[in-house]
Each structure stands twice: as structure tokens, then as C-alpha cells.
Amino acid sequence: MPNTSPSSPDARYSLAALLEPASLAKLGAIGAIVLALIVLFLWTGGWLTSGRLTQTRLIDTFEDVNGPHPGFRRNHAKGVCLAGTFESNGDGTQFSTASAFKPGRVPVSGRFALAGGMPMRPDKPTAVRSMALSFALADGETWRTAMNDIPVFPVRDPQAFYGQLLSSRRDPRTGKPDPIAKKAFLAAHPETARAMATIRAHPFSSGFANATYNALNAFLLVDAAGRTTPVRWSMRPVDAFAPEPSNPPADKNYLFDELIARIAKAPAQWHLILTIGQPGDPTNDATLPWPTDRQQVNAGTLSVDRIVAEAESNCRDISFDPLTLPAGIEPSDDPLLSARSAAYSVSFSRRAGEPKTPSAVQVPQGR
């Protein structure tokens, strides 16, 4: 036995023992195991496969297409915060255990915005509008949803979304998107051409308060017995529909300013409409509308009673991740849902650390 006194170390731990050929071979094998784990780790993280479409690449492309706008969302960049209440009538409980559907009131915060990555762009009648909501439910649960005032989504998966984004990139020579690239994209994506026709056939409303906002992606409602029901939800306005004006006001924030004036008078209301899917209704393709005869359940009423400008810790600093769902609502197999969740997270992480400039939409004092 070698000497085992701590004052005179065992020879097996000496450098000379480690440098013996048998030891070096074993150390080499151990090094190879460590290296293999490092390579596997890097591969899993996508560092070794540069061609993959990741959330980082998607958000980089938004920045590339729209230019840098530090502190703002990479999409739906121009917006204003809302606050209100959702009063559930209990009718949603037949399909879902989510506490949002139990009779009662919950506070809601959220955001009205325009689609696109330009935070200072002028409002126009055909700008796609969005309503994002965060329901503060009982027991710390949260339900977030980000909806648009179009009937279907133009693309059905993240790759197509990326392709459409690239095809809308401005040509540096003309300052406009390349029409050939747009045509090529639509030729390769007939579902987008069909969805665009559906969107064009559907008139835009005159403002934010009389628009219907659709979640577009399908979700699954889960009841107490564990049964799942596919659903698409919408916020349908109580304010009467009026079509987009042919001569919009010159004010570059006219849509937002009208909204602020409208809600200063009285709360604006929307009904939460659950459209119940039937077997065979597509849940993984947001470009396809569901048949118009599907059962619709009015689950309650959203009242928006306050509009405030984006600021620290309000809707500006929230990610309206559509997969922030309460128990009782689950994601469907729609591939856009996971991709939206991932991309919103990257957009949020970037803007959180950036210097802030005031939003284009400010709310006059006293309102």
C-alpha cells in the first residue's frame, strides 16, 4: 500500500502518474466524453445548424425589414394601453373549467395596436388593428390573448410567416417591396393568396371601438370531465359597425385619438364570442375560416373604461404571449401558437433592456 498520510500524498495523484501512457489514454477518453456533451449541447441550441429558422432569426428579420426602433415591440409597435373589466355570464363553463368562464368579474389590462413594426407610422383606414388582453384571474392565474381585426391569418406556419416577411422587405433601389418577390411568395403559398382574398372581402371598421377582434388561432377548451372542444374566440363590439372612411382624417394618430375620445365619453364594450368547432374543422391552419353555421357562445362582456399611454410597467412591459393560458384552456396543434409565444419572448427580452422613447400615442390630461 502506498503511504496514505495527508502530509505525504499518495503517488497515484502525482503528475508523473497522470503522464503515464495508460493514464493519458484514459484522460483522453474522458476528454472525448466531455467534448461530445459540449457538441451535443451546442447542436441542441442550434449553434451548429445556421440554416434553422429560430425565434432569434425571426425577430432579427423584423428588425431588418422595419429598421431599428429600440424600446418598442418588433411587431404591433404602435399602441396604447387599456384597462377594464370582464364580466363572465357563466355560459363558457359548459366547455371549460377555466375560472375566466365562471360567473363574476375580473380586472383586465391590455393594449390596442396597429400591426407592423413601425412605432411612429401614420394611422390608415386599412391598417390591421389588434386588441391584446391580460385577464387577472383568481389564484394568480393569467389569461393572455392577442387578437386582430381580420377574419383569417395570412399564413399558416412560421416558415411561411418568415417567407412573407422577407418578400415584404424594401428593395434599397426603389424603396418599395419587390413585386416579383411578392408574386413568387404568393405563387408558392396559394393558402395565403386565398386568405388575402378573404381578408380583402371583409370591410375594415371605422375605428378601434367598433372592430371585431379575432384570436385567429384555434385553442382547446377542457371541461371537468377532461373533454376537449376546439374553439376560436373573438371580441365582438357593442358599438355599431361603420365601414372605414373613404376620406380618413389627416391626423396621423386619428384612429387612436378617436378611440381615446370615445372611451373618455363612456366605456366601450365587446362580447367574448366562443365559436365552437366541429370534428374536422381545421385547428392547425389559421388561413382557413370555419363554416359560418358553427355554434357561437357569448361568454361575457369586456368593458374598456380607461386608455393610458404606454409607460413603465403597464402594457408596454408585458408580453401578450398567446400561450399564457389558464387551466381549462390549452393550445391546439396550430404551429403558429408556439412560434408566436417564442417570438414574443425574444421581442420582449430585447426591448426590456433598450432605452425608451415616448410612444406616438399620448393621452391628453383629464381623460
Binding site: 502506498p2 495527508p6 484514459k26 476528454g31 442550434g46 432569434t56 413603465e312 404551429p335 417564442a342
Partner: protein
């Protein structure tokens, strides 16, 4: 021969080894995957909190059941490296899930675990704090992976090169 770790210590050790390595891979896969992002996030949060709970149990267990002594012939330099890397691992096992929890809190995300079960926020909703916590979570992940690899390499070196009882004390 040095004595073995008690059964509870060995069970906790190997359970956490699997969970931590899996979590590191889930973490890097999650932030680079569009299609599986939500599934990976859904397991990342509860397993992260499970690791935090197990780390606390393990620390208490370590105080109750102290680890067996290192072989008497091990030089002081190796003892110092062993002790430092073990405490670094303990520190990271606590810090990483706590920073993850803090990061979600500062972002205003609910810390949803399973069903309706939620943890309370441990930081106020503050984007600037989130902007500090989010990269810290990444840095700690790399530090934990590096320390894990060092620990693995050292364990294998004890098993096959030094051929002492250190590796056996955790496996038998």
C-alpha cells in the same frame, strides 16, 4: 476504503444529475425552437422549481448526513478544487432556478407550474430588472454546464485514472 454516501444522498445525487443535465438541454433547445417552444417551456418551469426544492432537501441532508471523507492520500490542491466545485454546484443549483423565478416575476409572467398551481412573484414587475435577470439566467446556465462537465470529468478521473474509492462512494 472510504465509506459510501448514505442511500438518500445517492438517490438525490443521481436524480438531480439527470434533471439538471436534462434541464440544460431543454433550456438551449427551448430558446432556439419555434415548433417545440411551448412544450419545452411547460416542462422547464416545473422541473426548475423541482430542482430548487430538491437542492434545499439535499443541503439539509448534507448537514444531517455529512459526505464521507476524501481519501487521505489526496493532495491539498485536489481537495480544494473538489470542495470549491461542490459548493459552486450547490450555489448554482439554488441560483439558477431562483433567477428563473425572479426573471418571470420581473417580466410580469405568471409563474405557472401545474394546473392552477402558481408561485407568487419574487420581484416587482419591472422591465429593467427583467433585462438584468434574463441574460443572468443564460450566464448561469453556461456556468452550471461548465461546472457539471468539470464534476463529471473529475468523477471519471477518480474512477478510471486514480482508481480510488471516490467514484464508488457515490455509486455503490
Amino acid at each position: 476504503m472510504i465509506p459510501h454516501f448514505p442511500v438518500l444522498s445517492r438517490v438525490l445525487h443521481w436524480l438531480m444529475a439527470v434533471l439538471i443535465l436534462a434541464m440544460l438541454f431543454v433550456g438551449v433547445a427551448m430558446v432556439s425552437s419555434l415548433s417545440d417552444y411551448h412544450r419545452l417551456v411547460a416542462i422547464h418551469k416545473p422541473i426548475g422549481i423541482l430542482i430548487l426544492v430538491l437542492a434545499a432537501i439535499r443541503l439539509v441532508n448534507r448537514l444531517v448526513n455529512p459526505p464521507p471523507p476524501l481519501p487521505t492520500g489526496m493532495p491539498v490542491s485536489l481537495r480544494v478544487v473538489a470542495a470549491a466545485s461542490h459548493w459552486l454546484l450547490y450555489g448554482l443549483m439554488f441560483a439558477q432556478p431562483i433567477v428563473g423565478w425572479a426573471m418571470l416575476s420581473a417580466a410580469g409572467y405568471p409563474v405557472a407550474l401545474i394546473g392552477t398551481f402558481h408561485l407568487p412573484p419574487i420581484l416587482p414587475h419591472d422591465a429593467a430588472l427583467y433585462a438584468l435577470m434574463r441574460p443572468l439566467h443564460t450566464v448561469l446556465a453556461f456556468a452550471l454546464f461548465a461546472t457539471f462537465l468539470l464534476h463529471l470529468a473529475a468523477a471519471l478521473t477518480h474512477a478510471f485514472v486514480f482508481r480510488d474509492d471516490v467514484f464508488r462512494s457515490m455509486t455503490h
